[in-house]
Amino acid sequence: MGGTPLPDGIKLIDENGKRLDGRRPDELRPLKIEAGVLKRANGSAYLEWGDNKVMAAVYGPRECHPRHMQDPTRALVQCHYNMASFSVDDRKRPGPDRRSQEISKIISEALTHVVFTEYFPKTSIDVYIEVLQANAGTRCAGLTAASVALADAGIPMRDLVASCAAGKIDDTVVLDLGKEEDNFGQADIPLGYIPRTDEIVLLQMDGDLTTDQFRTGLNMAVEACKKIYDLQRDALKRKYASPARGNDKDVGVN
C-alpha cells in the first residue's frame, strides 16, 4: 500500500471523478453469483466479480480430520483458501503460503459465527475456496461465495455473510478496489458483514486513513454488503426455483 507512483502519470481518478475502469467512487464492479455449480460437493457456488473468478465448495458436516482437532461440543468450520498458480500474472507457487493461511483463518472465523456449529458436534465442515482468476478483492469474493455454498449445502445458518472492501486512492475513499487501485492505492479495508443484524465478522485494514476516512469507508462497505447480500439470496432462490437444474443430486437415485 501507499507511496508507489503510477507509471506514466496515469491517475487513479480522472478529472470527472471516474476511476480507471470508469466506475464512480461508490460503485461496485459487476458481480455474478451462481449457487450449486458442482456435482460432488454438498454445496457450492461460483462467483465472478469484476475480473475475479472464484469457486467455493462445501463438504460436510463430516468426520473431523485430524482427530485431535475434534470439538465434542460443536462442528469445526475449516476454510481452505487457495489461489491457482495461473490466477495471477507471475505464476504463484502452488500450495499454502502465509497469506493464504491467514485468509483461511479469518474466513473460517467469520463463517463459524453464522453456522449453527452446535448441531454437529465432533464434525468438520470443510469450505474450499479456489481463486481461479485474481484481480484484487479475492478474500471478499471468497467469503461471499463460501456463504452461498454453505447455504447451498443445506447447513443450518443464522444468516449469510456478505463481503466487500473499501479503500483509498488519490486521497479519495472508494468502494471495491480493482487491481491497479489495490497496487497503487493508499488503503484497503476488507469487510465481512451481516446486514440483518448489523454485525461485522471480518475486518482488516492496511494503509493510511484518518478516522473520518475510515468511518466513510466502513459505511461504504457496509452499504455495498447489503447489495451483495441480496445477490447472494437471489442466487440461492434461482437455484431452488429452477426445475431444470433442480436439486438433482439429492433426489431420485432409485
Binding site: 491467514e102 465478522v201 482488516q204 492496511d206 494503509g207 484518518t210
Partner: protein
C-alpha cells in the same frame, strides 16, 4: 474436556466481575497492563528489546543482512517478520512449523510496521536493483499471558529504534542507526458480552467472542487493523476500539 470446563468457570467468573464493572486483575476496561521495555537485551542482534506487558513476556531481535531487493521495489530494503510461539511460553503452543495463529501474529505485527512506515526503507538501499538491507524482525514469545499482538508490536518498535545497520561488518561503509521515521503502535481490544476490554489477558482472550487490533501513528491516523475470533462487532464497537487505540496508543508510544 477439562479445558472446556475451566473455560466455562473462568467465563462465569470474568462475566460476573464485568457486570460489576471490574476485571479480574482490577484494571479499568480501557487500561493496559503495566509495560516495561528493556532495549538492547540481545548483544548478538543488531537491535533488540524485551517487553513485559503484564505477565506477557516477549523478546524481539532484529537482524540485518545484505541481500537482493524485490523486483518491484529495486531501491528499498526488505522487511521480514516472523513470530515464534514456542511451547515454553504457553500450554496451548505446540512445537513444529508456524501454525495459523503464529502466522497471523507475525503478519499483523508486520502490517503495523510496514503500513505505518516505521522504517525509511529507501535508506536501506545499498545499490539499486543489486543490494539492499534485508531486515528480519523475529518475535519470540517467552511467557504468554495474552495479547501478543501488542506486546510484539511494542517490542518490535523498541528493537527497531535501538537497531544499528552493521555496514562496517558487511564492508559497506560506516555503521549507522536504523532510520526509524514513525512509531506505529497497535492496541488490541476484545469483546466479552457487551464489554470492550483493552489489552486482554490470556483468560480474557479465551472467553472473548471477538478481538480487534488497531495500529495508529503519531498523527492518530489508522495504518492497520485486524479482527479475529468467531464473534462479531458492530460498526459502532469498531469505531469505539479505534478511539481507544488512538488514546492508549499515544500513551504507549511515549514509552517506546
Amino acid at each position: 474436556m477439562s479445558k472446556d470446563v475451566m473455560a466455562d468457570l473462568k467465563r462465569d467468573h470474568i462475566m460476573k466481575l464485568l457486570s460489576k464493572g471490574k476485571r479480574v486483575d482490577g484494571r479499568k476496561f480501557d487500561e493496559p497492563r503495566p509495560l516495561t521495555i528493556e532495549k538492547d537485551f540481545i548483544k548478538s542482534a543488531e537491535g533488540s528489546a524485551r517487553v513485559h506487558l503484564g505477565d506477557t513476556d516477549v523478546v524481539v531481535g532484529v537482524k540485518l543482512m545484505v541481500g537482493q531487493p524485490f523486483a518491484d521495489t529495486p531501491n528499498k530494503g526488505v522487511l521480514t517478520t516472523n513470530a515464534e510461539l514456542k511451547p515454553l511460553a504457553n500450554e496451548s503452543f505446540e512445537s513444529g512449523p508456524p501454525d495459523k495463529r503464529s502466522i497471523e501474529v507475525a503478519r499483523v505485527i508486520d502490517r503495523g510496521i510496514r503500513e505505518g512506515k516505521a522504517v525509511d526503507m529507501e535508506k536501506l538501499c545499498i545499490e539499486p536493483e543489486k543490494e539492499v538491507w534485508i531486515m528480519f524482525v523475529d518475535v519470540h514469545a517467552i511467557d504468554y499471558d495474552g495479547n501478543l499482538f501488542d506486546a510484539g508490536n511494542i517490542a518490535a518498535m523498541a528493537a527497531l529504534k535501538s537497531a544499528v545497520v552493521p555496514a562496517k561488518r558487511a564492508g559497506k561503509g560506516e555503521d549507522y542507526p536504523l532510520p526509524v521515521s514513525h512509531v506505529p503502535i497497535s492496541v488490541t481490544a476484545v469483546k466479552i458480552g457487551e464489554h470492550i476490554l483493552v489489552d486482554p489477558t490470556y483468560d480474557e482472550e479465551i472467553v472473548a467472542e471477538a478481538r480487534l487490533t488497531v495500529a495508529t501513528n503519531e498523527k492518530g491516523d489508522i495504518c492497520a487493523m485486524q479482527k479475529g475470533g468467531d464473534g462479531s462487532l458492530t460498526p459502532d464497537e469498531v469505531l469505539r476500539v479505534v478511539e481507544l487505540s488512538r488514546k492508549v496508543g499515544a500513551d504507549i508510544r511515549s514509552k517506546v
